[in-house]
């Protein structure tokens, strides 16, 4: 194999590969990226056995062929090469070395035989549809903060992507929760998605997927089966196993009858929460919200460290209410609001609280209060 490729193009492809490979693994080949050159395209393929990413990029190919080499090392080298450099990758197919040349730099990297590289079995997808990148971006960006890291509840370690009935008909919906907060984000149902089985997209896949969604004009081809999900642009294909578990019935934990309404400027609110939380050094910083006629007082009382209080002008017309929350949770849901005011709906100081953006029902957040 002998190819020449522009440094920027190579960096992007190898960058995606090295973030998929598992840093600490006992199977050496899994640390490698499979490079296959044929025609006028080079394919970079990396996997951790749960996720596979395949990146096809144009290159000048002098001699077709393929090999595997450490993704992390290759990425580090390419990253340190000067911008705009032309990088030549070559091997003679026998020495077990890949030569990387750029300008006056010359590297020789150990390779492993491509036959050992595990390629994810292709599977039948029961549902295929196309979705604009911004739509998927919104669905996952606004829900991923609520993904659980608790291993004992592995079925919460991802975003539940499924078709749901909303007021205006069927929608494509993403839900994530860790038992303390929940995010439910809806988007118009793309053509062909109606029969899609609900799948739990793992946290790592959500992170990798995000890299495909930066360009507003890209359309993503989504394929779903009971066990796998695939997101593809013309260049990059991301295939992932889905979490083998049942996502809990989230509908019953979304409060329907919360009547006490608080409306406020989310950015102002987030800044104030952040400020008062400073005095507490504990892992879960509790912030108390004291609500009275159009007035919100945020307070933190950390007996060992100090106390803080801040008042905000808000729209609130119900009875007095005192309710506590984990400051981090409040900050995270408040930062999801980008267009309008944040609307909080409370019931009592012990019940789940609902938050949405203005009157938009397509993004709903639930957060559990904390005893203060």
């Amino acid at each position: 194999m002998k190819i020449s490729i522009e440094r920027g193009t190579l960096l992007k492809a190898v960058g995606q590969a090295q973030s998929v490979v598992e840093r600490r693994n006992t199977i050496p080949i899994l640390a490698n990226v499979l490079i296959e050159a044929d025609g006028d395209t080079v394919t970079f393929r990396a996997t951790d056995l749960d996720i596979e990413v395949v990146d096809k990029v144009p290159a000048m190919i002098e001699r077709a062929g393929s090999t595997t080499v450490s993704a992390v090392t290759l990425h580090e080298i390419v990253r340190k090469l000067p911008d705009g450099a032309l990088v030549a990758l070559s091997d003679d197919g026998t020495a077990g070395r890949l030569t990387v040349e750029a300008g006056r730099s010359n590297f020789s990297l150990a390779t492993l035989p491509k036959e050992d590289f595990p390629v994810m079995a292709s599977s039948e997808y029961s549902s295929n549809f196309a979705a604009p990148a911004p739509v998927l971006r919104r669905l996952f960006d606004k829900s991923k903060f609520a993904i659980s890291t608790e291993e004992t509840r592995y079925y919460l370690n991802g975003v539940y992507m499924h078709v749901a009935d909303a007021e205006g008909g069927k929608v494509l919906r993403c839900v994530a929760t860790d038992g303390h907060r929940l995010a439910r984000i809806d988007a118009d149902l793309p053509d062909g998605a109606a029969e899609m089985p609900g799948v739990i997209v793992p946290r790592k896949t959500v992170g990798e997927l995000r890299k495909l969604l930066d360009d507003d004009d890209t359309t993503i081809a989504v394929s779903v089966s009971e066990t796998k999900v695939r997101f593809a642009t013309p260049e990059i294909t991301l295939t992932s196993k889905v979490i083998d578990g049942t996502f809990p019935d989230y509908t019953r934990v979304i409060p329907q009858n919360n009547t006490r309404k608080l409306e406020l400027d989310a950015a102002e609110f987030a800044k104030a929460v952040d400020r008062v939380a400073t005095v507490s050094s504990e892992r879960s910083r509790a912030v108390k919200l004291s609500l009275d006629e159009d007035r919100l007082v945020l307070s933190v009382n950390a007996p060992d460290a100090g106390a803080a209080e801040e008042e905000l002008a808000v729209a609130y017309g119900d009875e007095r209410l005192e309710i506590g929350f984990n400051a981090k949770y409040l900050l995270e849901i408040a930062s999801q609001v980008d267009r309008e005011n944040a609307v909080f709906m409370f019931n009592s100081s012990g019940d789940p609280t609902l938050m949405r953006e203005g009157n938009d029902p397509s993004a709903v957040y639930v957060v559990m209060p904390m005893r203060v």
């Binding site: 291993e151 038992g179 809990p248 012990g350």
Partner: protein, 427 residues
């Protein structure tokens, strides 16, 4: 009675019978007893370790005089291990932590007694009270041993630490009918070694001047905390005695053994700067049980899990503590250990939450049994005020179960531990 100044050149000596301090002589000039301790630094040292002699067995013999001349082993059941063996049983080769069947093979005539925990705790409390009269700095290591720092107490008591320690073991014998051994030195490491030197009824002194000579040929496994695994590592490095250790540079020891290397370097020179500390904060709370017969039955394990979770959280609640990390421990039939831990989002002191989390861990382990032991613990302890503050959205019944647990705690508090139990605990 302040210590009488001793004439130059005389070896300070102490009679362990009448507590008389004098200079030189193989018998006490006052009561003619031969039980004396003589040491150049006897009146200067103040860090002590007290270790009861065959504590549990001695308590049993005291409470049942028929046992006095019989070999006695304290331990649990056919499958248990020896927790204490009296000195008669020890002559036959019985040791603590030995499996019971092996102990009975060595000493078939032994009387095996199930431990009576509450009695030992009470006796331990009485001994502790005696130590507390001597110094505010008492660091118990277990029910039957403790470190004491008696620095600066001579003026208060009108007697140097050595005399007070001899008085302590004498009182233990006179008032409680139990014997103990004393180690007196200039740090904890050496005091603990000293107390073990001439057990039972021992009183050993390791002075500063003799420290290096004393340690030189001793095996490094004497170091408290050097177990079989550490010993193997030291063996591989060719370190068997303290003299071997002295040949190593500090940096080499650190490179090879990490933080233990630094400790080894100093211990080899008889240096130990750890303070005797009256309050060592508890780091974890755990309980475990060894089964009568190995089991792989999830139902049985589940029953044990609940009972253990309840024991652990009872202790946590009694101390107003909660833990963030849940630990599950399983020992297979071949004694290999499986240990799983998980961090909770916030600390808990509820039996229900501990049990459910541990059950999740047990399910994760899968079918690796049969097991001979199961244990549950809480660590990363915090004050209870920071525990169980945020209910679980996905488990709306948890709050109800918490209230039920608090209510049954109140009932058990009032009417006894078994006044109300979960059906699950009967499995």
């Amino acid at each position: 009675m302040p210590p009488r100044p001793l004439n130059d050149g005389l070896m300070p000596s102490l009679c362990r019978e009448c507590l008389h301090v004098y200079g030189d002589g193989s018998r006490c000039p006052q009561c003619r007893s031969p039980r004396i301790i003589a040491h150049p630094e006897l009146l200067d040292l103040s860090i002590a370790h007290m270790d009861c002699d065959a504590f549990y067995a001695s308590v049993e013999k005291r409470d049942n005089p028929e046992l006095v001349d019989k070999p006695v082993i304290i331990g649990g059941g056919r499958r248990g291990v020896v927790s204490t063996a009296c000195y008669i049983a020890r002559i036959k080769g019985v040791r603590s932590a030995m499996p019971m069947f092996q102990a009975l093979r060595l000493c078939p005539e032994a009387v095996v007694i199930k431990p009576r925990g509450s009695v030992y705790t009470e006796v331990s409390r009485q001994i502790r009270a005696m130590m507390d009269e001597m110094t505010p700095i008492v660091e118990p290591l277990s029910l039957d041993e403790a470190f004491m720092d008696l620095s600066g107490t001579a003026k208060l008591h009108g007697a140097p630490p050595a005399v007070m320690l001899a008085r302590l073991v004498k009182r233990m014998q006179d008032e409680l009918g139990l014997t103990g051994s004393i180690g007196l030195s200039h740090n904890k490491f050496l005091a603990k070694i000293a107390s073990d030197l001439d057990k039972p009824r021992g009183f050993s002194v390791i002075g500063k001047a003799e420290t290096a000579d004393f340690l030189r040929d001793k095996p490094v496994r004497m170091i408290w905390g050097v177990g079989t695994a550490a010993q193997a590592g030291l063996d591989r490095a060719g370190i068997h005695t303290f003299a071997d250790l002295l040949r190593w540079d500090k940096t080499d020891l650190q490179a090879r053994f990490g933080s233990m290397g630094t400790r080894l370097y100093h211990l080899a020179r008889g240096e130990d700067r750890r303070r005797v500390s009256a309050r060592t904060p508890i780091k974890s709370i755990s309980n475990e049980t060894t089964f009568f017969e190995d089991t792989a039955s999830v139902d049985l394990l589940d029953g044990h899990l609940w009972r253990l979770a309840e024991k652990v959280t009872d202790r946590a609640k009694a101390r107003d503590l909660a833990g963030r990390v849940v630990v599950l421990k399983l020992k297979r039939a071949n004694h290999s250990l499986i240990s799983r831990r998980v961090s909770l989002r916030e600390p808990t002191q509820m039996a229900d939450r501990l049990y459910r989390t541990a059950r999740g861990l047990l399910d994760q382990v899968g079918n690796e049994g049969p097991y001979r032991l199961i244990g549950v613990g809480l660590s990363e302890l915090t004050p209870a005020g920071k525990a169980d503050l945020t209910p679980d959205l996905l488990d709306p019944n948890a709050a109800k179960r918490d209230r039920a647990e608090r209510a049954s705690d109140a009932i058990r508090e009032k009417f006894g531990k078994d006044a109300i139990r979960k059906g699950r605990s009967l499995r």
